[in-house]
């Protein structure tokens, strides 16, 4: 999966690794210059088995004789600076290309995630926990970024360090190299195995921190309860205890870690001492020179930190795989797609449900629903919570798939599955009970569907939804930001902004799914009247549990338990002895109460 998003990054990444290797190699050449100067220049040894450096000197016009070298000692300084400069440039290129490669890949990964999530079907969005998915898109991506940007390259670098160092060292003296290498292996294994064995010791500390956070959070969000029961002292005790537990756990963990670091430092020092002592013995038997010994010491100090770090990197790098798995799970979920040959013919708005049955999993929600709405008329759907009225709307928008043999929904006589989904939804304006507003300005929210409308058109749509006055009361009017960084709108205001959003687009079919529930009756009636004027030719479905909201409908369906219990014009239903009538009778209780009160 990473392969798919890595186009354009792979070349950069490989080039980065190449430049990294060159710069590491340059780093390893510098101590060789010191060795060369000490052995060949100062001590005048005639053996030239040092790589590269004598060749560079020859290029600079220095002969391979002690006199010539001593006379032209500045050349050695030039070589040092040249190697450092070349290595530095390669190092710069490596880091820059690594950043571009890794970040580019991450950029594409993020974009893919975002757009894929947008394209996943409605059912997927119902089933997930937002926090979990956001966590994956941020933390897990960050872990993968860390892996590519730091861990993977650290591993390669450490291996390169060890490889270059020992290729050169083994050429100098095998027994001393062997001694140093074995010790290095011990240090690496010590740090790797220790961290792997103790990885789970961090868990209780993390948990304790989580609990401490929970106590604080619960206290702050439940402050009214705390105050109303006068439990301040109790809370202080609770937080205090958890705070102690957390700090104590860390101190205990710290004791363990301090020993780990101490032992690590000690082993590192011991390796140096081994090289010193063993080096002295090898030197006394004439196997190594002063310059060579110095190379041993310098290389050793160069590789020790990457190797010690390698233990940590390896024990952490395993996290990346789990993260990748969690992301693959998202990217592997199939996106919504249109059947082949889907059409985009103009929709005028006649709707038919023909024997529609639907269930969520094993729970049947709709059973054999059939009705039809003529283009331009208004249908009201009345029903209790859970009667299936919202599902009717969702099916019509193609948010759920209707299975074979479970009936058919037609718009203008064409099965809705034959329309392109996007086309279908563009032609249906649905306002949800709890609509979502984007953290943009109110104006931008209203015009999300139809950017580029004039401010007058915006205000007109808002006026239909009876929200223009409220918006104009904000100091910045239609430019007021909504959400965390802006104003918080009440439930009723949100509903009305969402209505304005749908109205501005004026689609041929409009659905109001209990979208006036947070608005008072008077405003509700005014909005419906304004809508009727404005959306005159649109086919409208109003879903509500309030009878009064449906009084203007041409046809009313009363739903009960996934079935249509009654259907007809409001007057017709009143005349019949059914649920509609019973509800209406119950409402009369209020009136009788008033007259009673007046007596």
């Amino acid at each position: 999966m990473l392969w798919n998003v890595s186009d354009g990054s792979r070349a950069l990444y490989s080039a980065a690794v190449l430049f990294m290797l060159i710069s590491v190699f340059c780093g390893f050449l510098l101590p060789q210059v010191v060795r060369f100067v000490v052995d060949n220049v100062v001590r005048g040894l005639p053996v030239y088995d040092i790589p590269v450096i004598p060749n560079i000197l020859v290029l600079l016009g220095v002969e391979r004789t002690t006199e010539s070298l001593r006379k032209n000692i500045e050349a050695a300084g030039v070589v040092v600076l040249a190697i450092a400069a070349f290595g530095g440039i390669c190092g710069y290129l490596y880091q820059r290309m690594l950043a571009q490669g890794a970040e580019g890949l991450i950029l594409r990964l993020r974009s893919r995630l975002f757009s894929h999530i947008q394209s996943l079907p409605y059912e997927w969005h119902i089933a997930i926990q937002t926090g979990d998915i956001v966590q994956r898109c941020t933390s897990d991506v960050e872990i993968i970024r860390n892996f590519l940007f730091t861990q993977l390259i650290e591993i390669v670098r450490a291996v390169a360090f060890v490889f270059f160092a020992y290729v050169m060292l083994f050429r100098v003296d095998v027994p001393l190299s062997l001694a140093s290498f074995v010790f290095l292996l011990v240090i690496f294994l010590y740090s790797f195995l220790f961290l792997r064995a103790n990885a789970d010791r961090f868990l209780p500390v993390d948990e304790a921190e989580g609990q401490l956070l929970a106590v604080a959070q619960e206290n702050f969000t439940g402050v009214r309860v705390v105050r109303a029961f006068g439990r301040e002292a109790y809370e202080v005790g609770r937080f205090g205890r958890q705070n102690e537990i957390y700090a104590d756990l860390w101190v205990k963990l710290g004791n363990m870690l301090s020993t780990f670091w101490g032992v690590g430092d000690f082993l590192t020092g011991m390796q140096m001492i081994t090289i010193c002592a063993f080096g002295a013995i090898r030197a006394s038997s004439g196997n190594i020179t002063v310059g060579e010994f110095m190379v041993f010491l310098t290389y050793n100090s160069m590789i020790i930190w990457p190797v010690r770090g390698l233990g940590r990197v390896l024990s952490e790098a395993s996290k990346a795989r789990a993260s990748l798995g969690r992301l693959v799970e998202i990217l592997g979920s199939p996106a919504e797609s249109d059947p082949p040959g889907a059409i985009e013919t103009p929709i005028s708005g006649g709707i038919e449900f023909d024997g529609v049955s639907f269930s969520y999993g094993d729970t049947p929600v709709l059973r054999d629903i059939s009705f039809s709405i003529r283009q331009g008329t208004t249908l009201g759907i009345l029903g209790t919570t859970g009667s299936g009225k919202t599902t009717v709307a969702h099916l019509l928008c193609g948010l759920y798939n209707l299975e074979e043999g479970c009936g058919e929904i037609r718009i203008d006589g064409i099965n809705i599955n034959r329309y392109k989904r996007r086309w279908l939804r563009q032609n249906i304006g649905i306002v949800l009970q709890e609509p979502f507003l984007y953290s943009r300005t109110i104006g931008e929210n209203i015009a999300s569907l139809t950017p580029g409308r004039s401010p007058d058109e915006l205000r007109e749509a808002a006026a239909v939804a009876r929200v223009d006055d409220a918006i104009m009361k904000f100091p910045q009017g239609y430019n007021t930001l909504v959400g965390e960084r802006g104003v918080t709108l009440s439930g009723g205001q949100k509903q009305r902004v969402a209505i304005a959003r749908a109205v501005l687009n004026s689609p041929p079919i409009m659905i109001f799914d209990d979208s006036l529930s947070a608005v008072d009756a008077e405003t509700d009636a005014k909005i419906r009247a304004a809508l009727a004027r404005r959306a005159g030719s649109a086919t409208t479905i109003i879903i509500s549990h309030r009878m009064t909201s449906l009084s203007g409908a041409d046809t009313v369906i009363v739903m009960e338990d996934g079935r249509i219990a009654e259907m007809g014009g409001p007057a017709e239903l009143l005349a019949r002895d059914g649920i509609y009538r019973r509800i209406s009778d119950m409402q009369r209780i209020v009136e009788s109460e008033i007259s009673e009160a007046e007596d």
């Binding site: 000490v38 975002f114 010193c276 100090s301 008072d520 409402q587």
Partner: protein
């Protein structure tokens, strides 16, 4: 949360901010001094290592001698043991200081927040408080402990190394000593730049996280609006900005490390060119040459550390200022010293002096506006509520029904006028006295992590298990509780998440019942309970409320109807009041609300 973190960073260093948290240093003075001494010792050992190598080179390698190697090795082992002890000790101490310091700060912040008034909580996002209590204190503790470690180690390493180099060879050492300030300045410039860029990256990252959040939360709406592509385009722009910012920051780092490497190369070149001629003439030993090369390469690390600490000082200062400002926040509602003397405070109550509360409440010419608002929501309001009265407050969501309750509970105090409880201004007695007599049940009930039993016991800490069971029975919750896997000992999860809203409401109701208060507040408390339970609880309510003063906020019709007094609230103000019958007769706003709610209830 991240938005707050990134403000007010680039301030100059000021000692004042540090003085304010001075008192937190006191318990750790001894440990901090020990850390400082250990770091001096540790850096001394680090400076010794090249000298040890010099000794090996000059004593053994150059003459090709191996006698006495074991003694030299033992000496080395002794030094390394000293290093081991010092590392173990200073890391232990540093972690203890870090955790202890932040623990004390956390406690101080949390304790102080318990004293602050509700108005503070109303205007401050929870994330903001969490950031103060949790992360700011962590960063301060981290800096105090490890900042000292780095500063002491870095400073003394530089000093020791310079001394050592000058002793080894003053002619060469002086050049490296001169280079140090130059390296320091270059490091500062780069680190400042990197720091600024990283801050920008964090800001962009916060925006990107927000964007993901919105993309997922709003996905269902986006689908019905068919604006998925626009959203993706918008997101790509943000993610693209993130890419540019991170690459820019990485580029600066990519320039920085080769530049620092060049300094090292210059030093090495200098030592080689000059040093080799000194060596040939015999005035410089190989060991000294080797040690000088080591120092000139190693010296960066302490300089980098020191420079980083400089940047962190100003960053930590911002953390400190935020903690200071929290600790300096004065509570708006306090008990006067005279009251505290008689009644005690929240942490040391003098219950023996508390009079029993009867429950007569009188609003006497009360005017009130919220501290963050500019409009009066109550003006010269007077109302007499004799003990045992049931007051219902009705109105639309967000109309301001809670105001009166906030005042009665003394979560807020009147801007002018008085509220009398049992005939005395309630400011003449302690907050805890009043709160101990109030039972409060919220619409979105708030439970704490722990078992159901623990949550109910919150109402009265010394209640026996039998009393808790009795409370469960009183609110008809025994069936709901019995259904749970471990009955009353079931863990409710964080914030009670494992229970349904209805279950949570029952538990919080039982909690209030257990407290056996004289004043009862039910804030839309039964809205999510199913009809059957509702009916049972209704009986319990009427039983419990009988001899108590109670406030019901926007309830079911049946509850509202039985209230002795109904107050109708619109746009924050009380516009109608009276009994159910009175209000119906008025045919005003109440009638409208009533008919609407009636319809809602039929269909639920």
């Amino acid at each position: 949360m991240l938005y707050y973190d990134e403000e007010s960073y680039n301030k100059p260093f000021s000692l004042g901010a540090w003085f304010l948290i001075g008192r937190f240093f006191r318990p750790f003075t001894g440990m901090l001094i020990r850390i400082a001494l250990l770091m001096i010792a540790s850096s001394f050992i680090d400076v010794l290592i090249p000298l040890y190598q010099k000794y090996i080179i000059d004593r053994f390698i150059v003459p090709g001698a191996s006698d006495g190697v074991s003694r030299a090795a033992l000496l080395g082992v002794a030094v390394m043991l000293a290093q081991f002890v010092s590392t173990v000790l200073f890391t232990r101490l540093a972690i203890r200081v870090e955790m202890g310091f932040s623990r004390d700060l956390k406690k101080a912040c949390f304790d102080h927040l318990q004293k602050l008034s509700l108005s503070y909580y109303n205007t401050t996002p929870v994330g903001y408080m969490i950031a103060r209590v949790m992360s700011d204190t962590d960063r301060i503790g981290l800096f105090v402990a490890w900042g000292l470690v780095d500063v002491m180690w870095g400073l003394s390493y530089v000093v020791f190394a310079v001394i050592s180099m000058l002793i080894l060879d003053a002619r060469l050492g002086i050049w490296i000593a001169i280079m140090i300030p130059v390296m320091a300045v270059v490091t500062r410039i780069f680190q400042n730049r990197i720091l600024t860029l990283n801050r920008k990256v964090r800001r962009t990252n916060a925006i990107m996280t927000g964007s993901f959040n919105e993309g997922i939360l709003g996905a269902r709406t986006s689908k019905t609006l068919v604006i998925e592509d626009e959203n993706s385009r918008e997101f790509d722009a943000i993610a693209g900005g993130m890419y540019r910012d991170t690459v820019r920051s990485a580029t600066v780092s990519a320039i920085y490390s080769p530049v620092m490497m060049m300094f090292g190369a210059v030093a090495v070149a200098l030592i080689l060119v000059r040093g080799s001629s000194y060596s040939i003439s015999g005035s410089l030993e190989f060991g000294a040459l080797s040690a000088l090369v080591s120092y000139s390469i190693n010296i960066f690390e302490p300089i980098q550390h020191l420079s980083r600490i400089f940047s962190e000082i100003t960053a930590t200062q911002a953390n400190i200022e935020r903690v200071d400002s929290l600790l300096a926040q004065a509570p708006e509602i306090t008990d006067s010293p005279q009251v505290v003397e008689i009644y005690g405070d929240s942490f040391n109550p003098k219950r023996q002096n508390w009079e029993p509360l009867i429950g007569d409440i009188r609003f006497d010419d009360v005017s009130f506006k919220y501290p963050d608002g500019d409009e009066y929501v109550l003006e010269r309001f007077s109302l007499d509520i004799p003990a045992g009265t049931c007051v219902a407050l009705v109105g639309e969501t967000g109309a301001g029904k809670s105001t009166l309750v906030n005042l009665v509970c003394r979560f807020f105090e009147p801007t002018s006028g008085r509220i009398l409880i049992d005939g005395r201004d309630y400011r003449e007695r302690s907050q805890l006295w009043l709160h101990s007599n109030i039972g409060y049940v919220l619409q979105s009930p708030h439970l704490f992590s722990g078992t159901i039993r623990e949550n109910i016991r919150y109402g009265r800490l010394d209640a026996s298990d039998e009393e808790i069971d009795e409370a469960i029975r009183l609110v008809s919750a025994e069936r709901a509780v019995a259904k749970l896997p471990m009955g009353a000992d079931t863990d409710v999860g964080e914030g009670g998440d494992r229970l349904s809203t209805g279950e949570k409401q029952l538990i919080s109701f039982a909690r209030a019942v257990l407290a056996n208060p004289r004043i009862f507040v039910l804030d839309e408390a039964t809205s999510s309970i199913d009809t059957e339970t509702e009916r049972m609880i209704q009986n319990a309510i009427s039983k419990i409320l009988r001899s108590r003063t109670s406030f019901l906020i926007a309830h079911r019709l049946s509850t509202i109807k039985m209230a002795d007094l109904i107050l109708v609230v619109k746009d924050g103000k009380i516009i109608e009041s009276g009994t159910h019958r009175d209000l119906l007769r008025k045919k005003g706003y109440y009638l409208q609300l009533y008919s609407m709610r009636f319809e809602d209830e039929i269909m639920i």
